[in-house]
Every structure is written in structure tokens, then in C-alpha cells.
């Protein structure tokens, strides 16, 4: 960490990291220590996995509204980035990315590594057909912070590939596509120092890359599965997936949050710091490739 930096940033980084790690640890511990003998049906009796029960207790109406807003915001941002408009603070800016051989190769490289890394653990199923234990999720913030949009789109494609090879491909994968894009996009936009040599960058990483990214990704995919599922307010007569709403909000979404948070909290920041000099040297760092028009 840089010596010129105010000590308050280093302190903030430590405090934020402890809070985020505590949340991730609590979720993971409660998941692992829960007696699953009676299955997740305990959620309906109010005696389910405590972390998941806390999500479910907020109610389907809450999730329909809040999740809908989160989903809409994520979809708009995804389409904006495709259209060459990005968010800088609270301002919209037009940008230009060449999408030349280097950008396309970076996207494909990230997709292959992420996709392969994910479905290597595809047998560790948590909800058959929907999710599994995914340590490779730790790569998404690394791709986002180092490679920017090519890395984020690579994460999206990689998740799609992994869904296919793990045997989980469905219309739900469309939500996973954008959800994993967001998991990389959030740290790309909000972690300002990709070298990770300052306390501020670590604090930003834990707030945005670990906490916000994980929760946003999970709610985005959860809402999509809810919306196309059997208890959808629109598609109930023709559901495209079979996951009941109580499992979406009491099991799937909280599991995705803790899976993302625990692996990114421990692995992503040091890996980013280690790879940054190489990404910079090879001309792959996004900050050297993007051009702003306005």
C-alpha cells in the first residue's frame, strides 16, 4: 500500500474488509452447519437456513419490486455498455472500444478460462439444474478490474459455457449471462486503482467487488428465475423454469451471494495485484485501451 496515502484509508479498508468478511463467513458457516436432513422445505415453516430465511422473510412482493428494480438497472447498464455509453460517477459518458483482435482475444480468453474453471466443479451441485459450488467466481473481479469490458463480457460468455457443460443450460442462463457480467462490471467501474497498491483500492474492492457485486449478481439472476418460474406474475401458466419462488429467494439467491462473496473476498484482490503488471505490460489493461468521446 502506498506510503503517501492518508492512514484513514488504510483503516477504512481494514474495517470494511472485516465487515464484509464477517457477512460472508456468517452466511457460509450457517449454510454448512445447517441440518439439511429435512431439505430446504423447512424454509416454508420458518425454520430454514437462517441466512436464506432472512432473505425469504422479506416476502415475494418485496422481491418482485426490489428485485425488478435491480434487474432493470442491470439490464439497462448491460445494454448501455454494448451501445458505447458508460457510467462515470453519476454522469453518462460515451466511449469507444475498438473491439479489435486484442479485445476479442481477451474476451475469448476470459470466457474459456472462466467457463472451464466453473464447470470443473460442476459436479458439486447445490440445486440440481440451477447452481453449484463455484470457486472460479473469484476470477470475475480480476477480469473486470484488469480487462474492463472485454473481461466482463468474457465472464458472461464463460458462465454460459459452464452452464452448458455442467448440464444446467436453460432460459435461466440468460439471467446468469448478465448477472456474471455485472459481477465483473461493478469492480471494473468502482475500483479505481487496478494495481491494488492503496488502502483506498482495497476498501473499494471489498465494498463494490465483494459486497455489491455479489448481491447484485445474485438478485439479478434470482429475479429472472422468479419471473420465468412457476409463480411468476406473468408466466405462471407457461413457466420456463421449475424453481419455486421460496427456493429462489430462500435458497438460490442467498447461496449465490455467499458463494460469490467468500471466494472473491479471499482470492480476487491478491490475484489482481499480482497480474496487474503483466496486463499493463502486454497492453491489455482496460485503462490504456478505452477512449472517451464525451
Amino acid at each position: 500500500m502506498t506510503s503517501k496515502e492518508a492512514p484513514s484509508y488504510k483503516l477504512a479498508a481494514v474495517v470494511i474488509a472485516i465487515i464484509v468478511l464477517a457477512i460472508a463467513f456468517y452466511g457460509t458457516y450457517s449454510f454448512l452447519s445447517f441440518n439439511w436432513a429435512t431439505g430446504p422445505g423447512d424454509l416454508l415453516a420458518g425454520k430454514g437456513w437462517t441466512f436464506g430465511q432472512a432473505f425469504l422473510n422479506l416476502g415475494f412482493d418485496f422481491w418482485l419490486a426490489v428485485g425488478g428494480i435491480v434487474w432493470l438497472a442491470g439490464t439497462i447498464l448491460f445494454l448501455m455498455e454494448l451501445g458505447g455509453v458508460t457510467l462515470e460517477g453519476l454522469k453518462l459518458r460515451r466511449f469507444s472500444l475498438r473491439w479489435d483482435a486484442v479485445d476479442i482475444a481477451t474476451t475469448a480468453l476470459c470466457a474459456a478460462v472462466y467457463g472451464g474453471g466453473l464447470f470443473a466443479t460442476g459436479g458439486l451441485t447445490i440445486i440440481p439444474g440451477f447452481t453449484w459450488i463455484r470457486p472460479a467466481n473469484a476470477l470475475t473481479p480480476v477480469f473486470g478490474i484488469l480487462f474492463g469490458l472485454p473481461g466482463a463480457f468474457g465472464a458472461a460468455i464463460g458462465n454460459f459455457i459452464a452452464d452448458a457443460f455442467a448440464g444446467f443450460l436453460s432460459v435461466g442462463s440468460i439471467g446468469g449471462f448478465v448477472g456474471n457480467f455485472l459481477l465483473a462490471w461493478v469492480p471494473y467501474k468502482f475500483v479505481k486503482d487496478a494495481s491494488m497498491r492503496s488502502g483506498k483500492s482495497w476498501a473499494q474492492f471489498y465494498v463494490w467487488g465483494v459486497l455489491v457485486g455479489s448481491v447484485w449478481c445474485a438478485i439479478y439472476i434470482g429475479w429472472w428465475l422468479f419471473f420465468i418460474g412457476p409463480q411468476s406474475p406473468v408466466l405462471a401458466s407457461f413457466p420456463l423454469t421449475g424453481l419455486p419462488a421460496f427456493l429462489v429467494w430462500g435458497y438460490f439467491t442467498p447461496f449465490v451471494v455467499i458463494n460469490n462473496a467468500i471466494v472473491t473476498a479471499f482470492v480476487s484482490a491478491p490475484v489482481t495485484a499480482a497480474l496487474f503488471p503483466y496486463a499493463k505490460k502486454w497492453g491489455l489493461y482496460w485503462g490504456d485501451r478505452i477512449q472517451y468521446k464525451s
Binding site: V102, F119, F153, G167, I174, L284
Partner: protein, 105 residues
């Protein structure tokens, strides 16, 4: 005597949904690429990658690979081995493409 067994696989509405989505993305990618929009290359990559992924997915379905996945924590050595190959090929191809592009520029 050898007996040829053909797995009977019925596509679900889910499968048609994802096929329609990938074809739609491919068409959009082709149109944008033809219009020489820079992002057309990326969307074309989505589309072509999606089609290749679907082909691999249905080959694995028809081969009955997923029939062996019976529940939680099912070891799938064939898939895990395939994953390692994808990672190595992806890393190698990506590294080669990036180096080649850098030399050109």
C-alpha cells in the same frame, strides 16, 4: 451381435427458449457486423460462441453424459477433464492471439 441404441431425448420449452435466444443474438451480431459497427464483432462472438456451446451441449445430452449426474455432489470425471482441456486451450489460444495482435500493431 451389436445393438445400436439411440437415446431418446425430448427437447423442452426451455431448450427452444435458449435456442431462440442464441439464434436471435447471432442474427443481431451478423447485422451489426455487416453494418461495420465495432460492437458487431463482440455480438457476433456471442452468437457464434452460443451456437458452438449449444452444439456441444446437445452432443453431451444425446451422448447421455448427464444421465450419470444423479444428484448433488456427483463426481463427473469426464466433464472435469474436459474443463481442464478448455482452460488450457483457452489460455494458449488467447495468449497466442494477444501476442500476435501486439506484434501486428
Amino acid at each position: 451381435m451389436f445393438k445400436l441404441e439411440i437415446a431418446l431425448v425430448v427437447l423442452m420449452p426451455n431448450d427452444y427458449g435458449i435456442i431462440a435466444f442464441v439464434v436471435f443474438v447471432l442474427i443481431v451480431g451478423v447485422i451489426l457486423y455487416a453494418m461495420k459497427k465495432p460492437v458487431g464483432r463482440l455480438i457476433l462472438l456471442f452468437g457464434i460462441g452460443g451456437i458452438l456451446t449449444l452444439i456441444a451441449y446437445f452432443i453431451l445430452i444425446f451422448a447421455g453424459v448427464y444421465d450419470n449426474v444423479t444428484g448433488a455432489f456427483t463426481p463427473t470425471p469426464a466433464l472435469n477433464g474436459f474443463a481442464v482441456i478448455v482452460i488450457i486451450v483457452g489460455l494458449g489460444a488467447g495468449y497466442y492471439a494477444v501476442q500476435r495482435a501486439r506484434v501486428k500493431t
